[in-house]
Subunit: 342 residues, 2 copies
DNA sequence: CGCCGCTTTCGAAGCGCTTCGACGATGCGC
DNA sequence: GCGCATCGTCGAAGCGCTTCGAAAGCGGCG
């Protein structure tokens, strides 16, 4: 409730001196500055948010656009929203949450009213309506995820292709010969998130390059049983599984393999790749290359702050290299063809 | 980018006339008003957020305090944060997300800088540090959840006691004689959320009143197997289960009962009560009395808006009556003692 | 000694909006 | 026909802050 005028009066200086003492934008004699700071903290002075915004042409607020579809993975979304908020605070920004139908209108509104200094767009679809909108807004915007047309945008995403390739390489290097990919449900893929497709493509290409048999399946429901059955039909000697799917499907995998007498990693090695859940607490923990909300949001916020404060709005795509976390779910296989070498 | 001065000039009226035409706070001649509105929408005029805040002493922003613990149920939290945001928009408020360690400091800051007009406190613990803080803030605050000491607070919560009693009554009325409650993990309860305790107490009391055998168990991990075993030890003729637990435990229940030859509802009836997940897509959908984020947040926002706009800050506790959703997981039992009546 | 340049501080002009008081114009009753 | 109430509009005073330009004070140098 104390205003800058109260502080100025109590410290016996002018309002502008207080302002400069607190912001450090001009040099103030050290003892004056100390006195001002002491008085300010004594009075519990905090600058009035809207007055500061109005005068400084900066709100220190970042809008977070977070759409919610029926098939939304709430836990994953939560993680991204939370991390965005946390990282924003580290840069001294607050976050305004824009959800649902309001995601578009909210972006427009918070940009036009200059409520937000910048926008973070989460859960980007291949063909996302927020892409053309962002181009018209004249408000720094960072996309977390990769739309089809990235012309003029700043985007951050996990390098899903690298993650898929690395998973294949790990398995092939360890002697696996028949590798299955359990992907996302078809409806999810059709709805537009593009990373499942990127994983699909990179997985298949890498398997071809490395010359191993491979197959892909999409779960129907919330468990992996149909997927396992279909994989085994195509790959009778299935010895490696790459997971790029939801938590419920992944967590059901061990038990379902067990019903067929298959044990992880004794009979089948498993690697999760580009997934947003942690596999550490599964009955059998899987090796994983997580889609790490913290890493993505940190990178996104760095770019956004650079755009806001530094005026650097050059379009760019930042692909975050995947990290491999070993939980022991991959073991070396004896060579499939046991003819002695050379 | 257009300012109110641009609109005024284009419409040939003064700034204050534009302001009144748009806000409706004074009467303006209909055709003047129409002209102003036309010009405003043509110019795409939207009032500058901070200028409006500063002049009107109102930010139209509500802070949402959402702590995140290690054992947080992300999906449930997401639902509450999203619903709060959605409902706030219906009242023309935006929401600022305060998470984690910043939950306390953020409340203080957004109140002191008058960034927020009001605060919604989510996931309230029995002994929540945000309670004493709220009492000092002089910023309208609504708690979603019930702390131990509600003195002077405005709180909204599901009537968990009524939900527990109603679940017991349903089962007893349908002839069940041995009812088990699967509660939350002990660590969750000890951490401080109080609704599990309220359910425990009301469940036990109601069972006593109705004169049925009952038992309570807390899961250890993420499935219900230990809980089912312990319930059956105490209640060999277990014929009804009340669930007030997490989604993973609940979703594992049918399969675990099946391993003991028990089928829902043929052998055991099940009612979920005060849970934040939906049971509709379970293999066997359970009857449920959901902890409905939408209902809680709507009620909370109504109270908050009343406090902000109407100045009505009278402390009160609003308990939301539970709704029973029938999925057919409860069937009538033959009377345990089959002596023919009268 | 006077001038210059530096440091430190101050005054005042906004930022774009809301809102209060006032003023001219119009309509009514007596 | 005059006074009075009412309606519609306007001007100006803020809201609390940032920031620019300038003033004041001071030491050093020619």
């Amino acid at each position: 409730m104390a205003t800058i005028a109260d502080v100025a009066q109590a410290a016996g200086v002018s309002i502008s001196t207080v302002s400069y003492a607190l912001s450090g934008k001009r040099s103030i004699k050290p003892d004056t500055r100390a006195r001002v700071l002491a008085v300010a903290s004594e009075l519990g002075y905090l600058p009035h948010a809207s007055a500061r915004m109005l005068a400084a042409h900066r709100s220190h607020i970042i809008a977070v656009s977070e759409p919610v579809h029926p098939d939304t993975d709430d836990a994953a979304h939560m993680a991204f929203a939370m991390q965005t908020t946390r990282v924003a605070r580290e840069h001294n920004y607050d976050t305004l949450l824009l959800v649902h139908d309001d995601a578009l209108e909210g972006m427009r509104r918070s940009a036009a009213t200059q409520l937000a200094d910048g926008i973070v767009v989460l859960d980007v679809d291949e063909d996302d309506a927020r892409v053309p909108l962002a181009r018209t807004l004249d408000c720094p915007t960072v996309f977390v995820g990769l739309p089809a047309d990235t012309e003029g945008l700043v985007c951050v995403d996990l390098n899903f292709e690298a993650a898929a390739r690395q998973a294949v390489d790990r398995l092939v290097d360890a002697g696996h010969r028949q590798i299955g990919l359990i992907s996302h449900r078809l409806e999810t893929i059709e709805r537009g998130s593009n990373f499942p497709r990127r994983v699909l493509r990179a997985f298949a290409e890498r398997c071809e390059e490395r010359g191993v048999r491979h197959a892909v399946t999409h779960p129907n429901g919330h468990t992996a049983d149909g997927s396992v059955r279909r994989l085994l039909e195509q790959l009778p000697e299935l010895d490696g599984i790459v997971l790029n799917t939801t938590a419920d499907v992944a967590s059901s995998l061990s038990a379902i393999l067990a019903t067929r007498g298959l044990e992880v990693p004794r009979d089948v090695s498993v690697i999760a790749t580009g997934v947003s859940f942690t596999t550490a607490r599964f009955a059998v923990p899987f090796d994983t290359m997580p889609l790490d909300a913290r890493a993505s949001c940190t990178a996104a916020m760095d770019l956004l702050v650079k755009a806001i404060d530094g005026g650097d709005r050059t379009p760019r795509i930042v692909l975050i290299p995947p990290t491999y976390i070993d939980h022991g779910s991959v073991i070396a296989r004896a060579a499939a063809d046991p003819t002695p070498g050379v």
